[in-house]
């Protein structure tokens, strides 16, 4: 990216190092803006989808057409909201929690490959990096729950911890066959393996079919969405781990959650749905790559929203049952089966 910057007339005289840093900062700024705008868009679309599923309109007034700016108005409202802190809270932990949740989601965006050249940091261990940063969220959840000195929050945090760490295993195991196939953890390389016609997508490869389903369901659990939204079960735990948060702190939890939704969807698109490729070679022009990638990710986000407004939620022991007795054995079997097939075929 810094090469592009060096071509700009204003910046052409600057030394290369400065340009590199400038490139990093501008990339970060762009992604930050995308998260804020994208997060608001997801919140708005969630409310609209929920509305239409439930035979009502959802937000309609702010911003003219179908209340598109409702989330912005809510954001401004949250910015102006009084910050209420529980007197007995463990202040440092309590203050740190929303930052961790947001940061965990934000850091994952660095490696998301929106296009061959539209990537913040093209890490060779991209997939591993995403798995690592997304577990930062659980730190935030735990510190929120423990720090707020609230019993419901405590329940939410402990459930969240058990859930997120458990579901990381099937999530990782589901991704392994693809890694074995492509021989790389670099997200760009994984996408390039799916170039060409649509049947090259890993989703349509029968060997990866089970992996895909395990990934999609586990990713729901990773981002605490229905039917796995146990950390914030609003009907049982009032609001779960963010019961005690108001104003901007609450906004960060919210934004973090929606950013996380996008991250897992984007990883799903990268690994299984052909990333930035449209599936039709004629359409694969570099200018369209980010658009295709984002549209596909939006589709997966939409599926998450759709599921949320359809399903009841699981109980905490059933959640664990599904993870340890269904997904992990199936994922392991799937992995071994894939290994056997590859070995035999070679």
């Amino acid at each position: 990216m810094h090469e592009t910057l060096s071509n700009l007339p204003l910046l052409s005289g600057l030394p290369a190092q400065v340009l590199v840093v400038l490139a990093m900062v501008s990339a970060g700024g762009i992604i930050l803006g995308c998260i804020a705008v994208g997060g608001m868009f997801f919140i708005w679309s969630e409310r609209k989808v929920a509305g239409y599923i439930q035979s009502r309109y959802g937000p309609m007034y702010v911003g003219g057409w179908h209340g598109v700016l409702q989330s912005l108005a809510d954001g401004v409202k949250l910015l102006l909201k009084e910050d209420i802190w529980p007197e007995k809270a463990d202040k440092p932990l309590w203050r740190m929690a929303p930052l961790l949740v947001f940061l965990g989601a934000f850091l994952s965006f660095v490696v998301l490959p929106f296009g061959p050249n539209f990537v913040g940091a093209n890490l060779d261990i991209g997939l591993f990096y995403v798995m690592a940063t997304s577990s930062l969220v659980v730190m935030g959840v735990i510190s929120a729950g423990w720090g707020s000195n609230n019993k419901w929050a405590l329940y939410g945090a402990l459930r969240g911890a058990a859930q997120v760490i458990s579901y990381e295993i099937p999530l990782g195991l589901a991704l392994l066959p693809v890694v074995m196939s492509t021989g790389s953890l670099n997200l760009g390389t994984i996408i390039q393996a799916q170039a060409g016609w649509i049947h090259n997508w890993h989703l349509l490869n029968p060997l990866f079919f089970v992996s895909f389903w395990i990934y999609v369901i586990s990713s729901l659990a990773e981002v605490n969405r229905v039917p796995f939204d146990l950390p914030e079960t609003e009907s049982e735990l009032v609001s779960g781990y963010h019961t005690e948060y108001t104003g901007m702190k609450f906004a960060f939890f919210f934004l973090g959650e929606y950013a996380d939704m996008f991250v897992v969807s984007a990883i799903g698109v990268t690994v299984f749905l052909g990333g930035w490729y449209s599936g039709i070679p004629a359409l694969d022009v570099p200018a369209l790559f980010p658009l295709i990638f984002i549209l596909k990710s939006f589709f997966l986000v939409f599926v998450q929203i759709w599921l949320r407004w359809t399903l009841p939620r699981l109980r905490v022991d059933q959640l664990m049952y599904v993870c340890w007795k269904v997904f992990i054995p199936i994922a392991l079997a799937n992995l071994l089966l894939y290994g056997v097939i590859r070995t035999v075929l070679s």
Partner: protein, 158 residues
């Protein structure tokens, strides 16, 4: 490569900057009117009974142990998965059978904890010394005894 990680670092700084800027902006704009009732921990509109910072019974603490085992396993498997293709070419089926053995050993472990019942939520209220439930377990789906003390004041619990 270093530059890539530097990017990650710059991102982190940017994220933190964003967080702090918005917090400070909010601090400048928002009203401030704390009082005792507002700052009470939320417990459905009642005064909180005791502290939540207790030795909490995490039934699934065993799961945490298994998690560590399995997560380490995934970390071992990731590099293997990356080089799996190359190894098929160089060492042949051995590339698979090695990992197969490794996974099988872990599967035995999983089977063991599964059969032992440690993957089940312990669906009992365990007998406790400091409670009226002394030496008595209640199964989760049983209805328990009918002689609960009715109408105890909340103060009697703390």
């Amino acid at each position: 490569m270093h530059q890539q990680f530097a990017t990650v670092f710059v991102f982190m700084l940017l994220g933190l900057a964003f967080l702090f800027v918005s917090q400070i902006a909010s601090k400048l704009l928002r009203p401030k009117n704390p009082y005792a009732a507002k700052q009470q921990s939320y417990e459905c509109g009642e005064e909180p009974e005791g502290s939540p910072w207790i030795q909490f019974n995490v039934r699934f603490y065993l799961i945490a142990l298994f998690f560590i085992v399995f997560d380490v396993e995934i970390i071992f498997m990731l590099p293997w998965a990356v080089v799996f293709n190359e190894m098929l070419g160089t060492v042949g089926p051995l590339a698979f059978w090695e990992m197969f053995t490794f996974v099988c050993v872990l599967l035995v472990g999983l089977a063991y904890v599964w059969l032992k019942g440690d993957l089940d939520w312990v669906k009992t209220i365990i007998a406790r010394d400091d409670d009226e439930l002394v030496n008595r377990g209640l199964s989760r789906y049983s209805s328990g005894d009918k002689l609960g003390k009715p109408g105890l004041g909340a103060s009697e619990y703390v």
